[in-house]
């Protein structure tokens, strides 16, 4: 193993990160602030982890609680990684590494080592370490074994996220994959809420589940952290087997990339559903809308995000609302309806030109106002996202009929319109001021700019937690009898969108050179 070269590659990964930052004015300060924040968050997470350790010890069930916390962390890291793409960016591809004198094993090691030293993963490492430290400080485990358990679980966690991400990509490439994947996700999402009442009913079932869970890496790590002496080694085997199994699975998935399905026919089809749908937008915008529809549905990233929203929205609508029953389910549902207008195309609506690459320059070569391209893209994305607001309303009427009456439905729809208009309006501005070149065929990883991430992640968090918190502290403040306020807010958001649709594209020409530099990787 050529560790010296691998070390240089890791160094290069951080130099690239720095180079990317310093080329844009003002970004250095932002970068420093970001990392300062990162350190603070890591410290906070470590303290939270240590707090968890303390609770575990005081409850007298240190091992069981540690296992529970570790399982929750493991699942959150994997889900965040796969859904939001954090920590999944491939810094160097295998093809890029082939130019260096590295063997296949060394290339794989270098790629994944560069992946695991991502700042995102360090946050979870801090949490795991915090828990191990907490357990040690409160006398429930050995520090050495705790650190070993944390490192082993950390590697397992990274491998699990990679395997899940790649498996999802593979499913999407299969015939019928775009239907199968949301189905699988829906089953996984709804399984705990279906299983929990059953487990409560049958006392013996819980023990069976725990016995099965004892074979998971997080339970193994919990055992290793909290026991001492030879008894601790009972926790080694699950981690070791899972580590080995996930490594083998990852190698197999990487060695046999999904076969790309190609159309069997070589006949050119002119009258496509995209062309027919685009005609609704009139002769001026029809070619542009058709182009955007074709482009979006050909992008793997868009297809996956759009299809994944199918189980995500009902899950949030019914499960999240149920979870928040103690707070205010109606207020929580309001937040979910707002998210329905953002989630299906989040990465695209805040970075509308980011995926077109050098095609971006075409909009300035055509004999038209380039602003029309941005307007067409925004309107197309809005039309596609509005389908989900409609679906959410339909599901609500179907599964929660009469819960809050007709006014409730109007209010929820108003919240959906608010989310659509507000986020799509903000998306127009982030497209101009927070663009970043992204790969349309990459299915994993987060390729948004800082501003894009703030809008997408911040927007989703605000909509999920905000109305729920308001509902908890001021019960009745978000209630169907205030439907007029919701309609008013939706109208305001619609005005904001119309203003953005009019003003933002108008400054596209003046931002042309800066955007060209970013999108063609000259900045």
């Amino acid at each position: 193993m050529d560790f010296q070269l691998i070390r240089h590659l890791i160094g290069l990964r951080y130099r690239l990160l720095w180079a990317k930052t310093r080329t844009r004015s003002g970004k250095i300060a932002l970068f420093m602030a970001g990392y300062l924040l990162f350190v603070l968050v890591a410290v906070f997470f470590a303290i939270v982890g240590a707090g968890g350790g303390m609770v575990a010890v005081r409850s007298g069930q240190a091992e069981r609680i540690a296992q529970g916390i570790l399982t929750a962390l493991f699942t959150s890291a994997t889900v965040t990684c796969v859904l939001l793409g954090f920590g999944m960016n491939e810094v160097f591809s295998d093809t890029e590494l082939r130019r260096f004198p590295l063997k296949a094993v060394e290339r794989r090691f270098a790629r994944h080592f560069a992946g695991i030293v991502d700042p995102f993963w360090f946050l979870f490492l801090a949490l795991y370490l915090g828990l191990a430290l907490g357990l040690y400080l409160f006398g429930a485990g050995s520090l050495v074994l705790g650190v070993i358990a944390v490192l082993a679980l950390f590697v397992c966690n990274y491998l699990a996220a990679q395997v899940v991400g790649r498996a999802m990509e593979r499913i999407m490439q299969q015939k019928g994959g775009s239907l199968l994947l949301p189905l699988i996700i829906m089953v996984v999402c709804f399984l705990p809420s279906v299983a929990m009442p059953m487990l409560k009913k049958h006392a013996g079932a819980g023990k069976v589940v725990l016995r099965v869970l004892a074979f998971t890496p997080s339970f193994g790590a919990g055992t290793l952290m909290t026991r001492t002496g030879p008894a601790a080694f009972a926790g080694v085997w699950p981690i070791a087997w899972w580590g080995l199994g996930l490594t083998v699975a990852l190698v197999i998935l990487e060695k046999r990339p999904p076969r790309i399905r190609v159309a069997q026919t070589t006949r050119i089809r002119w009258d496509t559903p995209y062309a027919r749908a685009a005609k609704i937008f009139g002769p001026r915008y029809a070619p542009l809308v058709e182009h955007w529809l074709l482009f979006l549905f050909r992008c793997k990233r868009f297809r996956i995000a759009y299809v994944m929203s199918l189980p995500l929205i009902p899950f949030l609508l019914f499960m999240w609302t149920k979870q928040a029953a103690r707070a205010d389910p109606f207020a929580t549902a309001m937040g979910v309806f707002a998210i329905a207008g953002l989630a299906p195309a989040a990465a695209f609506l805040v970075n509308q030109f980011g995926y077109v690459g050098s095609g971006f320059r075409r909009y300035f070569l055509f004999p038209m106002d380039p602003a029309a391209a941005l307007r067409a893209s925004s309107v197309t994305l809005m039309a596609l996202c509005s389908v989900y607001v409609g679906l959410a309303a339909f599901a609500w009427v179907l599964f929660a009929p009469g819960a809050w009456g007709a006014r409730g439905i109007v209010m929820l729809l108003a919240s959906g319109v608010f989310g659509l208009c507000f986020f799509h309006g903000v998306g127009l501005w982030t497209t101009l001021y927070g663009a970043r070149r992204a790969d349309p065929n990459k299915t994993m990883g987060n390729d948004l700019s800082l501003v894009g991430n703030v809008v997408v992640v911040g927007g989703m968090m605000a909509m999920l937690i905000g109305p729920m918190t308001v509902g908890q502290f001021h019960k009745g403040l978000i209630a169907p009898d205030r439907w007029l306020v919701a309609v008013g807010l939706a109208a305001l958001a619609a005005c904001f969108y119309l203003f953005s649709l009019r003003s933002a594209p108008a400054i596209l020409s003046s931002r042309r050179e800066a955007l060209l530099a970013v999108l063609e990787r000259k900045a």
Binding site: L288, R362, R512
Partner: protein, 255 residues
């Protein structure tokens, strides 16, 4: 009439000057070669001539009209094959060309006929592949097809022949020669000087940073004649180009 006229064109990126007071004119019905070493400002000049970049100073006239980024009517009469090709990779060749044709105002019937004919001629008939699956040469062919689909009066081609196989290049040259004979204009850049010498009637050579160092008729080379410059006689484009842009001899002992 001049098809292209550039007067004192300056393009600066911050403190860096990419094009420095460039002035030249290209007569209609000419195959014009625009040459220069790497980084001398050729693509930047084409960017200014096609409305992609705003000149810092100077003036551009296309087909007798003052041109800027908002000149939609002039853009309709121009075809551009950019250096970066400007393709939408997830699309298929016919979808991309049809989109380009529609954006240039062609009616549906003309779009379908022209796309089919272009794809047949350029051997791009596999409609199951997206542009991302194409080889570099095939992608260049698609970008060339996109530049000519609306039958423009002026064509800007940035390194059109690099990476294309000899048969493809021969076909493109044939089309371009016929195109120029109809009184239309081609403005092309290339590093393949033999091709430029055989294809172009006139050449401009620029040196870093975007300064014109020579412009003239090169048909003399085809008639086995020579060009006099700086007291020397040049019987081909390559020695003239190297003389003007600075020939370098660096010996690496370890290589």
């Amino acid at each position: 009439m001049d098809a292209i006229r550039i007067q004192n064109l300056v393009k600066k990126y911050g403190l860096k000057t990419a094009v420095d007071g460039l002035s030249l004119s290209v007569a209609a019905g000419t195959m014009f070669g625009f040459l220069g070493p790497n980084g001398s400002g050729k693509s930047t000049t084409i960017g200014c001539l096609t409305g992609l970049l705003d000149p810092t100073a100077g003036q551009v006239e296309i087909l007798g009209h003052r041109f800027d980024a908002d000149s939609a009517d002039l853009k309709r009469r121009m075809g551009v094959m950019p250096e970066t090709l400007g393709l939408f990779e997830p699309l298929r060749a016919h979808e991309f060309l049809a989109f380009v044709g529609r954006m240039y105002g062609l009616d549906e019937g003309s779009v379908r006929t022209r796309v089919t004919e272009l794809l047949d001629a350029l051997e791009l008939t596999d409609s199951s592949k997206t542009l991302a699956d194409y080889s570099t040469g095939m992608r260049k062919r698609v970008a060339f097809a996109a530049a000519v689909i609306h039958s423009p009066d002026v064509l800007f081609l940035d390194e059109p022949f690099e990476s294309i196989d000899p048969a493809g290049v021969a076909l493109m040259k044939e089309w371009l020669n016929r195109y120029v004979k109809q009184g239309r204009t081609v403005f092309l850049t290339s590093h393949v000087l033999e091709t430029v010498e055989r294809l172009c009637q006139e050449v401009a050579i620029i040196a870093t940073p975007g300064k014109l160092v020579w412009q003239g008729d090169i048909t003399t080379f085809g008639r086995e004649g020579a060009i006099q410059y700086d007291g020397q006689e040049f019987d081909a484009l390559e020695p003239l180009f190297l003389h003007l842009t600075g020939e370098r001899h660096v010996d690496l002992k370890w290589l």
